[in-house]
């Protein structure tokens, strides 16, 4: 019951589907920060420690965001879903909470790029679901917030007598991504937000979606290690198995969360630094 798997095992099957690397969401382009970590000089023997660090920090934020996003679009005990307006507002708040806890524009961009792949699945497989519509509406709300932020910046530049926006020159050297990523089109929901809504549609429990995020991150690092360092694939798989208690502890910690403000905010300063450097690196095997 608490696991939320339906009597037909639908939750378990959907969990297997969503955790499968063959899912067409572009996961093969990702190393979960491992490539920049190794470039920065991390010894491949420390990958298990790197996994621990992620599960305690950025992956925790991601898992908690997915759990809260799932919660805010779920029907309550009476079977009544939240009104689509309320669900959209709550999703937008969850989105802002994630963004506030992800100070690196490189990490936000990566998550939003990955979110697009999951969004394509969600829109096609659950077309017309009110929860999908709520996510679209949340994107409109966040787009409007970003536009309002820019209007405020513009007012400041006018006050200062600056011609044109500072962001234009920033974009030219690729460092104005914070503003430019969502500049001329609608805001792109980050992966954990899309995953949370997908979990609601697919019938996953909060615990399942949290485990999914933890497992996926760990497996991404392990698989990427094989392409970057001479490691026996069985050893890499062993790291994932060894991380299981940490993944489960993370899942139990975040599964009860319902309030966007309660999403943990554990930062990993080096992961952020490496991600920013990697985003400006041209010769690389993985996009992030």
């Amino acid at each position: 019951m608490g696991e939320g798997a339906g009597p037909d095992g639908r939750g378990e099957l959907m969990l297997a589907l969503l955790a499968d690397a063959r899912l067409p969401t572009g996961g093969h382009t990702q190393s979960a920060g491992l490539e920049p970590a190794l470039r920065a000089g991390m010894d491949p023997a420390r990958v298990p420690d790197y996994l621990r660090a992620r599960l305690a920090t950025v992956t925790r934020v991601e898992a908690a965001t997915a759990v809260v996003a799932r919660h805010v679009v779920m029907p309550d005990a009476t079977g009544c879903g939240p009104s689509s307006g309320a669900a959209a507002m709550a999703l937008a708040e969850t989105w802002h909470a994630w963004a506030a806890r992800t100070p690196s524009a490189a990490l936000r961009d990566t998550s939003q790029r990955l979110g697009r792949g999951y969004l394509r699945l969600l829109r096609r497989l659950w077309a017309g679901d009110p929860r999908v519509l709520a996510l679209d509406e949340a994107a409109r709300l966040v787009t409007a917030d970003h536009a309002a932020d820019r209007a405020s910046d513009l007012g400041r530049d006018q006050a200062r007598g600056v011609e044109g926006s500072d962001d234009e020159s920033a974009t030219a050297d690729g460092r104005g991504r914070a503003a430019s990523g969502t500049r001329n089109r609608g805001a792109q929901p980050p992966r954990p937000l899309v995953l949370g809504v997908t979990a609601a549609c697919a019938g996953l429990s909060a615990l399942q979606v949290a485990r999914l995020v933890g497992y996926e991150d760990t497996q991404t690092v392990a698989a990427a290690t094989l392409k970057l360092a001479p490691i026996d694939p069985v050893d890499a798989t062993g790291w994932v198995v060894a991380a299981q208690p940490a993944i489960d502890a993370l899942a139990y910690d975040v599964a009860p969360l319902t309030d966007p403000r309660a999403i943990p905010a554990h930062g990993a300063p080096l992961v952020e630094q490496w991600a920013e450097i990697h985003a400006r690196t041209t010769e690389r095997l993985f996009s992030a």
């Binding site: 790197y50 506030a100 300063p269 080096l270």
Partner: protein, 304 residues
């Protein structure tokens, strides 16, 4: 054990500023005041920070006022001999206000166990620039345990309708919906930056701090800093620090490393402070204090 509260509150009052200062573990001393501007020093009144100390600093900056806080010495959290300590900063900057606090290093000595908390609430058009230099251990030490949490909230309504109506062409281009956005939360505020740095047992893991023992940060909240790599950002070509542009109006410049102090972030402060001063909404009215502010030298800190 009682909490020891220091309070600095400043409001505009008939062309001058009115200060409400309450000494606690730190004693606030007025360095200078001018029309809508105040500089206040925070001076430790006793040995800080000892095990069992709960230091709290409350700062309120009224509408349109600029407050600069100046520290005369860094802070060392000493070995608490099994007792933890806390350092909590509660900042409120009202509409159009500016707080500049280029704080000196906060050193967590061997055996210390410290909880730091920085809560910032910004009104409409309000800006805060805060320096936080966390140093784990004095020379030769690996340092104590530190958890440092920062939460910055933007009040709603952050953007009144008239500020957007000012540029209709841009609005059409962006297809901004015309209906009000509505509050994000019960109190209508929106989180800008939330970070919980857990620098206790796991901080040496790869990806958190590794071998580093210094996290030196400049947080600008409520406004975007000058363009990265722009002419007014010295050292931007080969920065010794990382610039994190937040999703909302703000940025963090951060240096991670082994050294106690990085001059690159002093230059960031020196570049960002004049930028936010000249882009404050009241600068638009061309009030007389503008020239005074622009001419005033930026406080240079030398660190510990």
């Amino acid at each position: 054990m009682t909490t020891d509260t220091t309070r600095v509150e400043v409001h505009a009052s008939s062309g001058r500023v009115r200060l409400d200062l309450r000494p606690g573990a730190l004693s606030p001393r007025v360095l200078s005041t001018g029309p809508g501007v105040a500089r206040v020093a925070l001076v430790a009144t006793r040995a800080l920070l000892l095990g069992g100390d709960d230091v709290r600093i409350e700062v309120v900056v009224g509408d349109g006022v600029e407050l600069e806080l100046v520290e005369v010495s860094g802070t060392v959290a000493y070995n608490g001999r099994g007792r933890s300590s806390s350092w909590a900063v509660d900042v409120r900057v009202d509409d159009g206000g500016l707080l500049v606090w280029d704080a000196l290093p906060f050193v967590v000595a061997q055996g210390a166990d410290v909880e730091r908390r920085t809560d910032v609430r910004l009104g409409e058009g309000a800006v805060a620039l805060l320096r936080e230099t966390l140093v784990l251990g004095r020379t030769g030490e690996t340092g104590g345990r530190l958890r440092s949490r920062t939460i910055v909230d933007l009040s709603a309504p952050r953007h009144p309708r008239d500020s957007r109506a000012a540029d209709d062409s841009q609005q059409d281009e962006l297809s901004v919906p015309r209906e009000p956005l509505g509050p994000r939360t019960a109190d209508g505020s929106r989180e800008l930056f939330v970070e919980d740095l857990d620098l206790r047992d796991d901080r040496t893991l790869p990806g958190i701090l590794g071998d580093g023992r210094v996290v030196d940060s400049v947080l600008l909240a409520g406004a975007r800093p000058p363009a990265a790599g722009g002419a007014d950002e010295p050292g931007a070509r080969t920065p010794s620090y990382l610039r994190l542009d937040l999703a909302g109006p703000g940025a963090v410049a951060r240096h991670l490393g082994a050294s106690t102090h990085d001059a690159g972030l002093d230059r960031v402060v020196a570049a960002w402070v004049p930028h936010v001063r000249t882009t404050r909404p009241d600068a638009r009215t061309g009030e007389t204090t503008g020239a005074v502010r622009a001419d005033r030298p930026i406080l240079q800190t030398t660190g510990a």
